[in-house]
Every structure is written in C-alpha cells, then in structure tokens.
C-alpha cells in the first residue's frame, strides 16, 4: 500500500479498538517472568557455553602480544577468541569502531578477546588470565579542547549539517533584545536495564542469534557484512528487548563475539556484557557544546535565531544534530544552524532517545526562558508569539501537516496552574525549600519508514500478525493487535502477534519514534489486503463489505471470516510505503512541559515536586501505553537535567562512572506523580492511521522545564548540565 495522498475515512476511524487504553497483551508474560529475553533461551540452546568479553584497558594504541595459554589451561575453558584466530572480519555500516579490536585499539573497553567456558564463573575467572600487551598512543579525549579543530560533518540520515535563511548576522546585530549563551550537555548512557546479550548457535553454516536488538533487518545485514556471509544464512530473533533507547539499534560486541565464540568451540555460546562494560564498550549519546543566539523585538517576537552545536566522535562517527529542532520550532526571518564535529578517541557516540532534539532542546528552551526574562514576557506567551504555521526555513510553501502547538501550551498551562507562577525568581518559599515553576516546549520531528507485515486468519477466526518489528517496551505487541482487530472487525482477544524474527517481513523497527506509526500502518496495509482476499473468496465486493463482529457483512448477507478462511486459512503480506508527504509538509510532534521544583536553600538539593505535560502526536493508538512512553521520557529528561553525566577521564580516555551506582538515573523517590494530557489530533498526512510517534517527544524539553523551574525557584541560571547541587550552591552564594 502506497501512502502518498492524505488519508480519508477508513476502518481505523471506527475507534472501537484503536485509541482504547487496553492493557498490554504481553503483560501477563512480563509480570510472571515468562517472557524469554536473549540470554534466557535454555529452550533453544540448552547446551550453551558461556562467553566473557575481555575489554581493552587503554583507549588508543596497538596490541603487541596476546598470550591466551593460561586462560586456555584454566578449568572449564573451551577456547579463547581474539583477532588472531577470529578470521577475516568486515565492519558494519552502522559501526564506527570495530567490534573486535586488534591489533589496533580504537577505544577503551573495546572487545579484544572472548573466553568461552563451561560455566559463567569459569569464563569470568579465565578472562582475568588473558594477557594482552599493548602500546598506548596519545589520544584526544576533551571535547572543549577539540572544537577549534572541529570539522563540517557529512549529512546525517540525509540532513545537511548547516542551514540558513535571511541574514542572521545583520538581523541579530540590529535586534533590540538579544540572548547569546552557550550551554553544555555531557555524554549520556542509555543505561537500559538489560545489558546487551546474545545466544548464538551455528548449524550447517547457518547462524541463529537470539539477541536483544531494536532493528532486526538492519542487524542481519550488519552480521552478514561483518562475518562475510550471506544474509539468508542468518536468523535473528529478538521478541523481547529489555530496554534499548538506541543502545541496541545496531550490531554490538555481544552478538558478534557470541557468534565467533560459538563457531570457535563448535557449540552454542551466550554472551552478556557485564554492566560495567556497557558504557565504554558500546555507544553513548555524545556531549555537546551549544551556542544559541536569539534576537527579538521588545515584545519577544524573534527576528534572528542561530543555533550552533559542537560534538565529538571517533573519526567517521556521526555528529549529534542538536540544532535540528531550531530549524522548525519558532518563527523568525533570519536563521542559521550549524553542526561541527571534533575527532575524539572516546568510545563510540551514537543515537540515544531523540538524538539531536533531546539535548538540543536543553539549550534552546533555556535560551527561550532567558529571552522571556529579557523581554519581560511570560514564557508561555513568548512561545505563542513565535508560533509558525510553516517550515520557517522553507517559507509558507511548506506548511506543517498539523501543528497544535499553541493548544498544548494553553491547555498544559491551565492544567498545571501556570497563572499562579511568580515570575520573579526566589520569591516563593515553603520552609527550607525555594519553590519555582518552569516550562518548556516539546518538539520532535515525525519520521516514517517502510514497514511490512504478514497477516492470516484461520478456521477458528484467530488472526495472526507476523512482522520483524520489535517491542522494546513501547507497547508494539498491543497496538499492532489493536490495529489488526480494528481493521478486520474482530475482538482484540482473537489476535496473536509475533514479533522480532528475521523470518518475518521487514518492518520499520524501533527507533526515532517512527516505530508505532510505521509498523501499525504496515499491519493496516496487510489487513486491508487480507480483507480483499477474504471478500473475494466469499464472493463479496470488497468495496461494499463491512468487517465487524468477526464477519464480513454486505447488505443482509453475513459470513464469519473463520468460515471464509476455512481449514487452510488465508494469509497475505503487504507493506506501507511512504511517498513524499513528509517533504511537501513539515511534520512534527508537539507539546509543552510544566514543572515545579523545590531547591533546598541551604544545601542546593533539587527535588522535582510535580510535572504536567500536554502533547499532540496524531491519533494516540493506545492512551495507556502512550502515556507510559511519555512519563518515561519525561523522567529521562529529569535525569538529563539533574544527574546524568558520563564523567570523562581526559588523561586515559574513558568514562569513569561506568555502572549504575555511579552513573545516576532517576529512581522511584526522585519522581512525583506526572500528569499527561493528550491533545486531540488526527494527522491525515502522516499515515493511514493519522498517528505519529510518541516515544521520544516526552524527553524533548522536559529537562529544560526542570532547569527553568530551578531558575525561577532560586535565581540561579545553570548552563552546564546536569544541574548538580555544587553548581546551585555556587550561584546561591552570589544571590543571597
């Protein structure tokens, strides 16, 4: 099914199943611990041996000698894989550094060896016996020191690193009110609860990987490229993923080393990264240095806006596109965005939840708060004054498909009680707490991607959906079942959904918040094709037939689809293919965050007291799971605002705080009740479902709302994230 014209009325508009807050259909399996994750496939590989990865203890250099004799002689050891015996390896297109290092070492904790043993304890112990001699080389580990030599990066997923409209310099120079500030965000770790893990099995030259991965088809291709083997000989299975947030978009060392280990010892092997290996061995969100300049008139109407961002990565790695939202969010005739990349020898930077916007909004939305203060305009009103109905770089010829941004601002403000905010910082006190309110916009682009599914119905009326789409906690199982049930007119209980197997048709996968809308549209396309097949088989004109209550109905004739399917069943496959409606129209998801914090007047401790958000993301396919996505992302925004920071050792080139004790993420006690309001919206230019993504929107701007609330509470403006209490205290000293 091709989607290149705005959607008209279709079966999804019935809204009997889609749009209803159903419990997750995978819930009973998850709450009983019976959902199998990648390291738990005793059913599929009962004799799997255990692999333990030995990582590099230096950031950059060369291996001069590897001695595995002691490890190989240790009890239970079946073999040791290093670059010397792994055979020739290619490199995946999405990998910057090699997943198995040697002789060159590209980053700290890069995998250099895998020890395989009968038990986990034996493998871990023997790993300490692998002797790797190496020569360290000088590396570049400090982003701030690297920006002078930063370069223009190549396009990122087709997006140009620079953009401009009008004459920014002249307009900014002439503006009566100016903001010119630099903000920094540190490296972030995905810190999903399930470390990267894989069970690998070879049989007759064919490889099966039970792994924890967001993008099944991408990763099959990457395995093929890395192991120099045909993709059709690779099966990848990823039905349950214990969190990803971008960390599991690509082939990583767990999967490659498990495959190499299993080949080496002639037995299935499973490998999980030890938690302390995750931040340095895998990928992280790169740190940024962002300069935002805004020139406005005295009423806060923007005439000039520029956003420049510097980030680092291994040579050949991607830039963090932190200025992307600034191309679309606010009006202003004179504009400029620029991304620059510095070569660093830290571990590989890559996508983490809402790459670009998540950290870009931390800068832009604080700059807007600073502009509101400079103009004496209320922050909500300031954003309303700068709303724009079209892509402000392209002009009115490229309107937004739908943009209920002002609705989000107004309704969120009302729900939160924004009118009670005292605009003067440091004036509201509750005992020892200085109390403040802050807000920020939420914005994340809407992306779509081709997505296929196979759908069948059997003689009992059971509908089965098969697609290689993944559910990384996003609720995919449930929304795909809802989509099929709605389209085919059957109850939700009649639908089975099978995901995450490369033997199924290729779906959009989970990333960039494109998964729900794209994959559900793919299932819709397959179900519409199934309707045609069933109608034809039963002698109906598909155009006249209505599918409801498990039957095909036209006029006074009604035939159960179970009877039409018969014993052999009816199966079809189809895909949604997106045309250029996302080029004709700017497409995005919008929202507004509101936050109240307390700042301890004596210690500088910051506590989030309440959060409210209003969001527009097209049709909300399941309000229960969508709300969960939003609150989870808001919480990750709180983490970015207040605590999350991978600390770089700029001498030795690695992240020092590489576990969950030292890399702090929000816990129960940090998060109050969160109130989420969805604004009614159907975007007919986004997909047949008129839906958009929602999984990343909630993080975009959430941290800035916290930072702005901190400023309102105590008058301290911190531009270096995270807002730890040492920074608050430094400012408080000057204020009081």
């Amino acid at each position: 099914m091709r989607f290149d014209q705005p959607a008209t009325t279709n079966p999804i508009d019935r809204g009997r199943v889609v749009g209803v807050p159903h419990d997750r259909i995978d819930g009973p399996a998850k709450v009983t611990g019976t959902a199998p994750y990648a390291y738990e496939r005793h059913d599929a590989a009962p004799d799997a041996a255990y692999g333990w990865i030995v990582g590099s203890a230096i950031a950059r250099g060369r291996i001069t000698a590897i001695d595995t004799r002691a490890a190989e002689a240790a009890p239970g050891v079946l073999g040791v894989v290093t670059h010397e015996n792994a055979g020739p390896l290619g490199k995946g297109r999405f990998n910057t550094a090699h997943l198995l290092g040697g002789p060159a070492i590209e980053h700290y904790d890069q995998a250099l060896a895998l020890v395989v043993a009968e038990t986990l304890e034996q493998a871990r112990d023997a790993a300490a016996l692998v002797r790797i001699d190496c020569v360290a080389e000088e590396g570049r580990f400090d982003l701030a020191a690297g920006i002078d030599g930063a370069e223009v990066p190549g396009p990122f997923f087709g997006k140009d690193p620079d953009s401009a409209a009008g004459d920014f310099d002249a307009a900014f120079a002439a503006a009566p009110v100016k903001v010119d500030q630099t903000y920094t965000t540190p490296d972030h770790s995905h810190a999903m609860m399930e470390p990267h893990a894989t069970t690998a099995l070879w049989a007759d030259g064919r490889l099966t990987l039970w792994t924890s991965n967001q993008m099944v088809a991408w990763t099959v291709g990457e395995v093929a490229r890395t192991l120099n083997m045909p993709p059709e000989n690779i099966r990848l299975v990823s039905p349950y993923v214990g969190g990803g947030f971008g960390a599991k978009l690509f082939l990583r060392a767990d999967a490659l080393m498990a495959a190499l280990g299993a080949r080496h010892v002639g037995r299935p092997v499973k490998v999980a990264l030890a938690r302390p290996q995750v931040p340095n061995n895998t990928v992280h969100r790169p740190a940024t240095i962002q300069r935002v300049r805004i020139g406005a008139d005295r009423n806060g109407v923007i005439d000039a806006i520029a956003h420049e961002s510097w980030s680092g990565n291994l040579p050949g790695g991607n830039v963090e596109m932190a200025a992307m939202q600034t191309r679309l969010l606010y009006g202003g005739r004179n504009r400029l965005t620029r991304h620059r990349i510095a070569a660093l020898d830290l571990p590989e930077g890559n996508s983490m939840r809402a790459p670009g916007e998540a950290v870009g909004m931390l800068a832009l939305e604080v700059a807007m708060d600073e502009l509101a203060e400079a103009c004496g305009v209320d922050p909500v009103e300031l954003r309303i004054r700068n709303d724009v109905a079209y892509d402000p770089e392209a002009g009115p010829d490229r309107p937004f498909s739908s943009r209920p941004f002002v609705d989000c601002l107004r309704r969120g403000a009302e729900r939160f009680g924004w009118s009670r905010r005292n605009p003067t910082p440091g004036r509201v006190r509750d005992g020892r707490w200085l109390v403040g309110m802050g807000m920020a916009a939420a914005f994340r682009g809407n992306q779509m991607s081709r997505s296929a599914a196979r759908v069948g119905v059997d003689g009992r009326g059971t509908v089965t959906v098969e697609t290689d789409m993944t559910d990384i906690g996003t609720g995919t199982y449930t929304i795909l079942a809802q989509t099929a049930a709605e389209t085919l007119g059957v109850p939700l209980e009649a639908v089975r959904v099978h995901l995450g197997d490369s033997r199924f048709p290729v779906a959009a996968g989970s990333g960039g918040q494109w998964g729900a809308n794209s994959a559900a549209s793919g299932v819709y396309a397959a179900c519409m094709t199934l309707r045609e097949a069933l109608a034809q088989k039963a002698g109906f004109n598909a155009g006249d037939a209505v599918f409801e209550n498990g039957a095909i109905v036209a006029g006074n004739r009604s035939v159960p689809i179970a009877d039409v399917a018969g014993r052999e069943g009816v199966w079809v496959e189809d895909a949604i293919e997106f045309g250029d409606l996302d080029k004709t129209y700017a497409q995005g998801t919008f929202g507004a965050h509101f936050c109240e914090v307390g700042v301890d007047a004596y210690t500088g401790e910051i506590r989030v007291r309440r959060m409210v958000g209003a969001f527009a993301a097209g049709r909300i396919l399941n309000p229960k799971s969508a709300r969960n996505q939003i609150i989870g992302a808001m919480t990750m925004g709180v983490g970015a605002a207040l605590m999350e920071e991978l600390v770089v050792d700029t001498r030795h080139g690695y992240f020092v705080n590489h576990d969950l004790a030292e890399y702090h993420v929000p816990v129960h006690a940090d998060i109050p009740d969160q109130d989420v309001l969805f604004i009614e919206e159907l975007d007919d230019k986004s997909s047949p479902l008129k839906a958009k993504g929602v999984g990343e929107l909630g993080i975009c701007g959430a941290g800035a709302a916290v930072a702005n609330a901190v400023h309102n509470a105590c008058g301290v403006r911190i531009r270096a994230y995270p807002l730890t209490l040492d920074k608050v205290l430094r400012g408080l000293g000057a204020v009081t």
Binding site: R24, K30, V31, T34, P36, P195, R275, N628, I631
Partner: protein
C-alpha cells in the same frame, strides 16, 4: 603496557586459579515451595543458581553488582538482591521468585495490578519490582520503618514510604508513577 598487564596479573593472583579448579559444593534450596538439590561451583551467586542451574529465568540480571534491583527475590520472607549473595550462603533456606508468585493464568494480585496500571514497559526490571513490592507491603505491615518514616512507632502505607522503599529497584523505562499506583491498589485491596 603496564596498566593493562598489572590489572590482569592482579586478577590472576586474586583468583588463585588452582584453589578453585573443579571444586563444587552441594546446596539445597527450597525454591517456590519445592526442594531443589544442586551441586555448585562455590562462586555461583544465588541469581545464577536460579537463572542458569534451575532455569528460573524470571529473575533478571541487570547489573550483577547490587545496583539495580532487577534480581530481587524473597529469601526467608525478606527481599534481597540475589546477585549479591552466593548460593551456598542460602543452603537450607526458602526462596520465592517471580515464578513462585503467580503464572500467566493465575496472576498474583501484585502481578495483576502491574498489568492493570501498566507498571512496566520493557519488562526487564518487572519481576524484581514485583518481588520488591510484595516484600515492601510485608515490611510496612511488620512495622519496619524506613528513611522517610516520621514516627518510628507508627509505620503505615503512604506513597512516600513506597517510593523510598522501592528506590533500590531501577526502572529505566521509568514507569514509576504506574508502579506506585499498582502497589497502592494492592495495599488498598483494590487489585
């Protein structure tokens, strides 16, 4: 390269590889009301005994260092991080895991409440959250105070108590308010 070499040598010395070669010890655990006899490498954690030897994979390994709570099980009536103790330390003790609370067909009230209130996303921290939540309600019923208990002689359920007591169970998907709602529903007998 000395840094690397020293690290690895220190590891080798500390492991004392000869001393541990092939040594195993018998361990008896009562897991989910069933007596299980195991012969284990003494280095085996309770978590790995459950996951790898008894193949009860409902209990999750998130960090293996007592930092995340995904491995929480109930031992002799109290919740512990099963990754932080060796199986041999629990010889003769009773362990309840997520599999012992309920099944998909017969959910424990806490499991049911987690589904109803959508107290999870990816599901990986969930068994630990649920085991912890069941034990937290027992702790409160037993009058055991926490860091946020104002009156040590009057321990009672509140959202603040639960948030404090559940803070050892990280949920990176951050379904936190939904988890609190689920526990509250069970505490109020509404689940």
């Amino acid at each position: 390269m000395t840094l690397h070499e020293n690290t690895r040598r220190a590891g080798a010395d500390a492991a004392g590889e000869d001393a541990t070669a092939g040594a195993t010890v018998p361990v008896t655990l009562t897991v989910n009301r069933e007596v299980r006899h195991l012969t284990l490498d003494p280095r085996t954690t309770l978590l790995d005994a459950l996951r790898e030897h008894l193949r009860l994979t409902g209990t999750k390994k998130g960090c293996d260092h007592g930092q995340c709570g995904a491995c929480t099980v109930i031992v002799e009536g109290r919740r512990i991080n099963s990754c932080l103790s060796l199986a041999v330390m629990h010889d003769g003790e009773a362990v309840t895991t997520i599999e012992g609370l309920g099944t998909p067909e017969r959910l424990h009230p806490m499991q049911k409440a987690f589904v109803t209130h959508d107290g999870f996303q990816c599901g990986y921290c969930t068994p630990g959250q649920i085991c912890s939540a069941v034990a937290v309600l027992a702790e409160i019923a037993d009058g055991i105070p926490s860091h946020v208990t104002a009156d040590l002689a009057d321990v009672r359920f509140s959202d603040a108590e639960v948030r404090e007591r559940m803070s050892g169970n990280i949920c990176r998907c951050a379904a936190y308010p939904n988890i609190i709602a689920a526990i509250r529903a069970v505490a109020e007998g509404a689940a």
